[in-house]
């Protein structure tokens, strides 16, 4: 087909399917306004932005805000807090759904399996506000049952788990595991459903016990899924969500609980330092995006599985 013919065909298709462009219009509008609009607004990270002057009237200041952020003592504290939470979440939160999926996959009896799935998926539907409310009720020093139980076991019984900085990361990570492990196992369950049963039969005849079969048959089948999930997790290594951290923060744990995203929120929307906080947010997003690209490339080379 020549170039002219191709163009003619394209035009014919566009004309015939014009209605489909209308179908796309609302979504495109949304993406342009609320996704690409803010990306255009990222320029204020390099400006001394004021609302009255707008994007075009504000003066350019180059990398001033970035330098200010890197030189401030806060930078290292924020980076350390963010990395602590995300790496701890990764190390604990990544393998547990896989183990859960392998366990669920070996449950005999449809009803029993369904019951276990229903229960373990359930916390996913609890809102962040309620989750944090539950934590603070259970772990309250004056009225929470955890402290009461600990005092029976010989503990002091008045530990302020939500206030003591040394407990913060544990509370954050393990409550996250509690909420999301079940839901996270679904994707591995789906992959496990694709395991060829004849492989298991053959291995059984060769004398492999169940544990060996899981290691040598089930696990290799879900490796591509594991890699994809791992890439996604690595891409958000600095992306500790503000929603839960923000709700768990208080004056006593703020030294360890302030992460980059909550700092951006306070700096920007409470203190109204628009340019500075946009610069901090942009630094965060740029690192995340770069990490994602690098990890994805590496995964593609090593294992052949990748996001794109």
């Amino acid at each position: 087909m020549t170039f002219a013919e191709k163009r003619k065909k394209t035009l014919r298709l566009m004309k015939r399917n014009w209605l489909l462009y209308v179908f796309l219009l609302p979504a495109v509008l949304f993406i342009v306004l609320f996704k690409y609009g803010p990306m255009y607004g990222l320029q204020i990270a390099f400006q001394n932005y004021s609302i009255t002057k707008g994007f075009s009237g504000s003066e350019w200041v180059g990398l001033k805000w970035f330098i200010k952020f890197f030189e401030s003592p806060r930078f290292w504290v924020l980076l350390k807090n963010t990395l602590t939470l995300s790496l701890y979440s990764l190390v604990v939160g990544f393998p547990i759904p896989i183990i859960l999926a392998l366990v669920l996959n070996n449950v005999k009896g449809v009803k029993r399996k369904k019951f276990a799935q229903t229960i373990t998926y359930m916390p996913h539907f609890i809102s962040t506000v309620v989750l944090v409310g539950m934590i603070s009720a259970f772990f309250s020093p004056s009225s929470g049952f955890v402290n009461t139980l600990l005092s029976y076991l010989g503990g002091s019984g008045d530990t302020y788990f939500m206030g003591d900085p040394s407990y913060f990361s544990h509370m954050y990570v393990w409550s996250g595991v509690w909420q999301e492990a079940g839901w996270g196992s679904i994707i591995y369950m789906a992959a496990l459903a694709g395991v060829d049963p004849t492989l298991h039969e053959a291995a059984m005849i060769d004398g492999a016990n169940k544990f060996k079969r899981i290691i040598h048959i089930d696990l290799p089948t879900i490796i591509p899924t594991i890699i994809i999930m791992l890439i996604m997790r690595c891409g958000s290594i600095l992306g500790v969500g503000y929603e839960k951290v923000f709700l768990m923060q208080n004056d006593m744990n703020i030294a360890v609980s302030e992460v980059i995203s909550t700092y951006v929120y306070k700096l920007g929307l409470i203190n109204r330092q628009y340019s500075y906080s946009t610069a901090v947010g942009l630094f965060n997003n740029a690192i995340n995006f770069t990490l994602l690209v690098i990890v994805n490339k590496a995964a593609k080379k090593i294992s052949g599985s990748s996001l794109w």
């Binding site: 399917n17 996704k35 229903t118 603070s136 946009t278």
Partner: protein
């Protein structure tokens, strides 16, 4: 024949040898499963039991399995609080309108993207997907919404939560796999245009994915608080989750409370414990609709994850 007999016998022998390994394995997986289920279920169960119990027992650890000192006081107090009613009403408004709008936009876009004969849709999809991995961030978004005059309007909450690229991808994958080219060709020959084909044939065949979308979007509206916290200033527009945040997490001791503790520590203690009971009741009231509905529609949620996990 003899050979076959031999191998069956050998297999039996091997199976016997490994029976003990497998029994051990069975025991370990069973224990693990029970452990997972109990750990997940117990906190939820405790909240429900505690919300019906005398707060004194809930706090001193003497109710672990069954309600004690049955009372409905917590719920009475919850329903007396008018913030709960305002919040519930607002959340229903946001959830219903946002879900209707979001589902419509996502279905239309997902269908258009599922068609292979639409010039330009490939590059457009890439531009959509890019926004999943890179965003302008919180402050520029706030400024854009402010510029549009949407700050402190209900539209800010409704519009910002309604479209997600991930949902569009789920719809696209589903429709690309369900609606065959032959079906499309047959309909075209019968004189069926794109619009009629979508509404008369595609939608009726897509009931499962419509259910997935409605549920996903509705849950995200029901549980979300952050957009509302950023964009709303009037409390009469607050969704339930923001009021919950006030009641569950921001109830700090005020000056009068401190006075009371000095004058009458016993009464202050009672007030604190009954406040705890109200919290348990509130958690149940706010979460019950979703948790009760969810087991019946679980298969749709799971289906959504399955479709979304198919690459491409």
């Amino acid at each position: 024949m003899e050979n076959g007999m031999m191998s069956v016998k050998r297999a039996q022998k091997i199976r016997q040898r490994h029976t003990w390994d497998d029994i051990l394995f069975e025991v370990i997986t069973k224990l693990l499963l029970i452990f997972f289920v109990v750990i997940v279920a117990y906190p939820i169960y405790f909240i429900i039991v505690a919300s019906f119990s005398d707060p004194v027992y809930a706090n001193n650890g003497s109710i672990l399995l069954f309600p004690k000192g049955f009372t409905l006081m917590g719920y009475e107090r919850v329903f007396e609080d008018e913030r709960i009613w305002i919040g519930y009403l607002n959340t229903i408004i946001y959830t219903v309108s946002g879900t209707a709008l979001g589902t419509a936009v996502v279905l239309l876009a997902g269908y258009a993207f599922s068609r292979k004969d639409l010039p330009g849709s490939g590059i457009l999809m890439k531009l959509f997907i890019f926004t999943m991995y890179f965003s302008g961030g919180m402050i520029p978004l706030f400024l854009v919404v402010n510029e549009m005059g949407l700050v402190n309007t209900r539209w800010s909450v409704i519009l910002l939560g309604c479209v997600s690229v991930y949902n569009i991808i789920i719809v696209r994958s589903f429709m690309a796999n369900t609606i065959s080219d032959e079906l499309m060709d047959a309909a075209t020959i019968d004189g069926c245009g794109n619009g009629m084909f979508f509404f008369k044939i595609v939608l009726p065949l897509s009931k499962a994915v419509i259910a997935v979308m409605v549920l996903y979007i509705a849950v995200s509206y029901w549980n979300g608080y952050f957009n509302a916290m950023i964009f709303l200033t009037d409390t009469d527009k607050y969704p339930l989750q923001l009021f919950l945040r006030q009641i569950l997490l921001m109830a700090t001791q005020s000056g009068s409370d401190l006075n009371l503790i000095q004058q009458d520590p016993e009464l202050a203690d009672q007030l604190a414990t009954s406040a705890q009971l109200v919290k348990y009741g509130m958690i149940v009231i706010a979460t019950a609709p979703i948790i009760c509905l969810y087991p019946f529609v679980q298969k749709y949620f799971v289906k959504g994850v399955m479709i979304g996990s198919v690459k491409g």
